[in-house]
C-alpha cells in the first residue's frame, strides 16, 4: 500500500505499453536513415526476405522481385504507409522521404528496373490519418 503515491504518479506517464502481451520496451527506436537499402534490410526483409522473393507458408508473403504491382509507384507507397492485410502500416515509423526511398530502392533492385522515381511529396498524398493508425494502447 505504500506504493500508492508512486503508482498513481507512474500512471500519468505510461510509456509505450500495449494492452496486448507485448515487449514493453522502455524506449522506442527511431529510424533516421533515408538509405533505401538499409531501410529495406531493417524493415522489409523480415517478411519479404533478403532476396525479395517472398515466402510461402500457410499463406504467402508476396515477392517484390518481378511483382507487376510495382508498375505504379503509388501502389507500393500506399501499402508501405497503410499496411495491407497482415502487413502493418509503417506511416508511424517512417517519414515520407524514407517511404519514397524504400519504394525507389525496391523498384530498382531485385530484378526490377523502373526508371520513374517516387517523390516524398507523392507519399504525403497516400499517408493515412494519424487516428486511423493509432494503436490501441491503454
Amino acid at each position: 500500500m505504500h506504493k500508492l503515491a508512486l503508482m498513481l504518479i507512474a500512471l500519468a506517464c505510461l510509456p509505450n505499453v500495449a494492452w496486448a502481451d507485448s515487449a514493453d520496451a522502455i524506449t522506442t527506436n527511431k529510424l533516421t536513415t533515408t538509405d533505401g537499402r538499409v531501410l529495406y534490410q531493417t524493415l522489409c526483409q523480415a517478411c519479404h526476405m533478403a532476396d525479395a522473393k517472398g515466402a510461402e507458408g500457410a499463406a504467402h508473403f508476396p515477392a517484390l522481385s518481378g511483382n507487376p504491382k510495382l508498375a505504379s509507384s503509388s501502389y507500393p507507397a500506399y501499402v508501405v504507409a497503410n499496411g495491407f492485410g497482415g502487413m502493418p502500416w509503417f506511416a508511424d515509423k517512417l517519414s515520407d522521404s524514407q517511404i519514397a526511398a524504400i519504394v525507389n530502392y525496391v523498384r530498382t533492385h531485385f530484378g526490377n528496373h523502373y526508371t520513374d522515381a517516387l517523390k516524398p511529396s507523392d507519399v504525403t498524398k497516400v499517408r493515412p490519418s494519424e487516428e486511423s493508425i493509432k494503436p490501441i494502447f491503454d
Partner: protein, 532 residues
Amino acid sequence: MPEHETAATRRQLLSRIGAVAGAGALYQAMTSLGHAAPSDFVNPPKLSGARPGTSVLILGSGLAGMVAAYELQKVGYKVQILEYQNRAGGRNFSLRGGDTFEELGGAVQRVGFAQGNYFNPGPWRIPYHHQAVLHYCRTLGVELEPFVQVNHNAYVHSSTAFSGAPQRYRVVDADYSGYVSELLAKSVNQHALDNEISADEREHILQSLKSCGMLDASYAYKKSDLTSMRRGYEKPPGGGLDGPSVTSTPLSRGDIFSSGLWQAISVNSLLNHQTSMFQPVGGMDQIGKAFQKQLQNVINLRCKVTAIHQDDSGVSVTYTDDAHGSATRVAKADYCICTIPLSILSQLDIQVSGSMRAAIAAVPYAPAIKVGLEFNRRFWEEDEQIYGGISFTDLPITQISYPSTKYFSNGKAVLLGAYLWEDVQAFRFAGMTPAERIEASIASGEKIHRQYRKEYSSGVAVAWSRVPWAMGCSSIWSEQRRKDHYKNLCTMDNRIVLAGEHASYIGGWQEGSVLSSINAIEQLHKRASGVG
C-alpha cells in the same frame, strides 16, 4: 547509525504504513482511468438443447479451436478440427532440446537445450485475472506455478544513464518514489497547492508522502536507515560483531528522472503484470497438450485450408491433406468455427459478407521476436541473487526474463534473452538469420550480465513474422479500425463464425482466444439450436 535510533525508525515506519489505507483507492483510480479491466470470464458456456449430430468443422487447433471443440463435443455436437501444422496447440507452444524449428526463408534451428529445459516462444505468463485460461487449466489438470514478473533485485538498464551501469530495480523504485514524494511534500509545504486542497487533506497528503516516499521528519528523502530499508544497504545488517549495517546513498534526483528507468515501474504496475502470475510447470504447451488429450480422433494434422464456402445447407472447406499425399479434399459440416489468424485468413478464399471480409483484411500483425538462451549455470542466481522476474533495458532486446522455476538447481538453465514486439528493432531482428538474432541478443545482454559470453551454451530465436503457420505474432488493432470492423469480424456470418485472440479485446493473450471462442460457440449454438 546507533542501534536505538534504528529501532525507533523502524517502529515509526510500521506505524506510518499502518496509518495509510490505500489499496481500494488505488483500484478505484485505476479502474476509472481504464487501466484495470480484468477479463470478464465467469463460467464456461452452458449449452443446452443441442440437436444431436449437428456437425461443426473447426479450423485451427490453437486454444480457441480446442476450447470450441471441447465444449461443443461435450454437449453432443459432432466436431472435427483441421490443423495446418504437424502438431496441435497453435501459438501455445514450447521448444525443447532435440526439437527442430523451421522458419519461412528456410532457416532450420535444432534446439540444443539440455534435457528438461524449455523455452516458450509464444505465450509465457498468465495473469491471475485471466480466469478463463485458469479455469481450463484447473479443469484439465494442468499444474501451474508462480511466474515472477516483478523482481526488486533484477536490473533496470539504460545505455545512456549511469554510464551504462545497470541499476537494481528496488533502488530506482525507492529513489523515484522518494524524490517524487519529497518534491510534492515541498510544494504542499510551500502552499503551492492551497487552491487544490483543504487543510485536512493537506495533512493526509503529507502523512502519506512521508510514508510512501520514506521521507524523514522534515520531509526530505536522503541517506538514512529509513531509505536503506527500501533501497538496500551499503552493508546489510548482520549478526554478532558484524551486526551493524551501513546505509546506502540515494542516486541523484536529476539522474533518476533523466534516466527513464522509472518506465519499468510503470510497466510492472499494469494489471496484466501484477502479482500473482502463473505458468504451467514444464512449458506453456502443457495447456495445449491437455486439450489435445480430450480431443482424440478430432484433430486432423497437416491439413492446409485453401477455401471456405457456405450455402443454405452447410459449409464446405477445401484443403490439401499433406498427411495423405497432398490430396485435395473437401470437408463438409453444418457450421464452421474459423480460428485461422487473420494474417493467413485474409489471403484465403472465404465466402462471407463483404463487411466481414473487409474486417478480416483490416488487422495487421506484430512481428514479435523471442530468443531463448541457455547458459551453463544460473549466474543470475548464484552471482547476483536474481530469482525469476525481469530486467528491463533500452537495448534492442528490451528485457531479460529469468526462469521462474527450479531455483537453486545446478546445471544449465534457459532464460528469455530478448522480447521485441513491433518496434523498428523487432523488424530488424526478424530480418536476421537465427544465429544473428542470438548473437545480437548476447551482445545486448552482456552489457547487463558480464557472464553472458563465458556461460553461453545454446540458443533459439523465433521471429513470429517468419513462423510459417502464423505469419505474424498477434493482431494490432487501431482504435479506428476497431470502431469500423470489430463487430463485423465477431458476428456470425450465416454458418461461419471467427474466433481467436484477434476477435477479442485481449489481443495477444491466450485469454482473448479463449473468451472469443466461448462467444463464438454461444453464437453458433444459439443459431444451431434455433434459440433466439
